[in-house]
């Protein structure tokens, strides 16, 4: 009689959305989740990321379809406003749900 190997089920970790899981992107998504929209400067101030770093992460999030940008002019100055797409909102919620269930029963 062969016994099945006893292994913990860690498949939940592999299922985590890496696009959301990265700390800088998670910070951006958390912020965009609770507000309607913000421009680049506001996100930079709130997340504490540098211009280049934030720019790179926003590019990735936009590519994944999690955020969308709207270009406009405020007076003579160009302004890019960013907001979470419904796909991004769904991904963020799903990520939060998975993280919660992943750490259920975590011993103190």
């Amino acid at each position: 009689m062969s016994e099945k190997p006893v292994q913990p089920d860690l498949s939940g970790i592999a299922d985590l959305d890496r696009m959301v899981h990265e700390p800088a992107r998670l910070a951006v998504l958390s912020l965009l989740y609770v507000i309607e929209s913000a421009d680049f400067t506001f996100l930079m101030n709130q997340t504490g990321l540098t211009w280049g770093n934030l720019s790179a992460h926003l590019g990735k999030l936009e590519e994944a379809g999690y955020i969308a940008s709207e270009k406009s002019f405020k007076g003579k100055r160009p302004n890019t406003s960013l907001h979470l797409t419904s796909e991004g909102r769904k991904a963020f919620r799903e990520y939060a749900r998975k993280m919660k269930s992943l750490f259920q029963g975590l011993p103190d």
């Binding site: 609770v34 930079m44 709130q46 211009w51 100055r77």
Partner: protein
């Protein structure tokens, strides 16, 4: 990660960050200075200077806030539009303030009615004490109306510093009606402006305009 992600806290902090420039504090302080000149009744009667100075100071206060937000704060802090939580709070605040304004209009109408109607005037005089006590009641009513309205505004705006401002504004209105001299209310106005100036200076140091270029280097 040491701290949990509290989305409500993130939203609250993001909202409060829009007040850290101190411009609203300066604005409210200037409003009190303008009001002290408006409410002051000189012995020789209301002169054109009362009106001119008041309009100039109200204009200065509003102009300073508008220009400061547009040309100083926004380029440094960035633009943000808050979500439904804030919109709901704002709507509730506007309804409550609307009720307050209706109450004030009713109070004003009742005063005017009592003033011009001899019977109502007599009736009112029966209930209102004469002289100093009467002035104290009027000062208290004015002070409470402004104080409560400001507490409502600051409560719905998540603006903890605002309670200090509301208290001082309330005291200033009481003193400007009761003592009829603009000096004490102006001093109180300055007491509101000063922390605003400190915050504004700190804000300019913390968020220099050339930060974006420097962070690229």
């Amino acid at each position: 990660m040491n701290t949990p992600i509290d989305l409500k806290d993130i939203e609250r902090k993001a909202f409060r960050s829009t007040y850290q420039d101190g411009l609203w504090d300066i604005y409210y302080g200037l409003i009190i200075v303008a009001m002290s000149i408006f409410v002051y009744r000189p012995p020789q009667g209301y002169g054109p200077m009362n009106i001119i100075l008041m309009v100039l100071l109200f204009g200065l206060a509003y102009g300073f806030l508008w220009a400061g937000k547009k040309y100083i704060t926004l380029p440094r802090m960035g633009m943000v539009t808050f979500g439904t939580i804030r919109k709901k709070k704002r709507k509730t605040m506007m309804i409550i303030l609307g009720i307050f304004i209706l109450f004030q209009v009713a109070l004003l109408a009742a005063t005017a009615f009592g003033w011009f109607n001899p019977k109502a005037n007599q009736l009112l005089n029966k209930f209102m004490p004469n002289g100093d006590a009467s002035l104290m009641i009027v000062s208290l009513i004015g002070s409470l109306i402004l104080g409560i309205s400001m507490v409502v505004v600051f409560n719905f705006s998540d603006y903890p510093r605002g309670y200090y401002i509301a208290l001082l504004m309330s005291l200033a209105v009481f003193l400007m009606i009761y003592l009829n001299q603009p000096l004490y209310p102006i001093i109180i106005g300055v007491l509101i402006i000063l922390p605003g100036v400190v915050l504004f200076t700190r804000f300019l140091k913390r968020y220099p305009l050339d930060r974006q270029e420097r962070s690229d280097e």
